[in-house]
C-alpha cells in the first residue's frame, strides 16, 4: 500500500472534479469514497494485535491480510453501509466498494520483490496482478504529490462553490 494519505487524497482528487459536472454526485459521496479507501487498510490492525494472537484467542485460523482482499473488504463495506439511513444504504455501499477498488488499484503501484501483487480479487480469483513497481509504501513523494494536488482541487472547489 502507499500511505493512507495518498489513498484518501487520491479519492478526493479523482471524484471532486466529477461533482462540478455531474449533478447527482456531491461532496457527501466524495467523503464516503474516501472512507471506502480506508477499508482494506483495516488489515493493518495486525500492527496492534498480531494475527496469531487473534488465532489463539478464537481457536481458528485468522489472517488480518484477508481484509485487504475484495471479498472480505466488500463484505465489511456492506455491513458498514447498513449504518446509513434507509434509502442511502445502496448508494453508500456502492461508494464504499468503489473506494475499496480504488485502494486496490493504487496498491498495484507498490514495488514487489516478486513483481506480482497479492491476489486482491480473492475470493473471486487467485490471480496475482502484475505490480507496477513505482513506489514503496514508505516513500514520501506519493503523499507529498497527492497533498499538492488535493490542495489545488480544494481551491478550485471553493471558488466554484462560492
Amino acid at each position: 500500500m502507499p500511505d493512507l494519505l495518498t489513498h484518501v487524497l487520491g479519492a478526493y482528487v479523482l471524484l471532486t472534479p466529477v461533482t462540478w459536472h455531474v449533478e447527482w454526485v456531491d461532496r457527501r459521496h466524495v467523503v464516503v469514497l474516501m472512507i471506502g479507501t480506508i477499508v482494506p487498510d483495516l488489515s493493518k490492525l495486525q500492527l496492534l494485535v498480531g494475527s496469531s494472537a487473534v488465532s489463539d484467542a478464537i481457536g481458528r485460523p485468522w489472517l488480518w491480510t484477508g481484509l485487504h482482499r475484495l471479498g472480505p473488504a466488500g463484505t465489511l463495506a456492506a455491513v458498514g453501509a447498513l449504518g446509513f439511513e434507509r434509502g442511502r444504504r445502496l448508494s453508500g455501499f456502492g461508494w464504499l466498494l468503489a473506494g475499496i477498488l480504488l485502494h486496490l488499484v493504487f496498491d498495484l503501484a507498490v514495488i514487489r520483490a516478486s513483481g506480482l501483487a497479492p491476489p486482491y480479487l480473492y475470493p473471486l480469483s487467485w490471480w496475482h496482478p502484475p505490480a507496477a513497481d513505482l513506489l514503496l509504501s514508505s516513500d514520501v513523494w506519493p503523499w507529498m504529490m497527492s497533498s499538492v494536488l488535493a490542495g489545488v482541487v480544494w481551491m478550485f472547489d471553493r471558488r466554484l462553490v462560492d
Binding site: 489513498h7 464516503v32 480506508i38 487498510d41 434507509r86 520483490a113 503523499w143
Partner: protein, 89 residues
C-alpha cells in the same frame, strides 16, 4: 508462504544490508540446505515505516473529520444522515 512470528531464514546472494526493525521483501528460491538464494531484495527502513504509520494515522483522523462535516448521526435511529445546511444538498 511462511507465516509465523519467529522464523529464521538465511538469505544468500543479497547485495544489500538491513538493520533490525527494517522490513524486507525477498524473492528467491529455497535451496536444499534451507537457505534462500535471493534474486531480488527490497528493504523498507524502520524510520520510513514509522513515518508511514504517522502519516497514515493523520490521514485517518483527517478523513473522519471531513466525513462528519457532511454527515451526522441521527441519535434516535443511530444512522448516518446528511448534515443539515450542507450547501451541496
Amino acid at each position: 508462504m511462511l507465516v509465523g512470528d519467529d522464523t529464521d531464514l538465511t538469505v544468500v546472494g543479497a547485495e544489500t544490508t538491513a538493520e533490525p526493525g527494517d522490513v524486507i521483501q525477498i524473492y528467491g528460491t529455497i535451496q536444499p540446505d534451507g537457505t534462500v538464494a535471493a534474486e531480488r531484495v527490497v528493504v523498507s527502513e524502520r524510520t520510513s515505516l514509522v513515518r508511514l504509520y504517522a502519516v497514515s494515522i493523520g490521514a485517518l483522523a483527517l478523513t473522519v473529520v471531513v466525513f462528519f462535516r457532511s454527515w451526522t448521526v441521527d441519535r434516535r435511529r443511530l444512522t448516518f444522515v446528511p448534515r443539515e445546511g450542507d450547501e451541496d444538498a
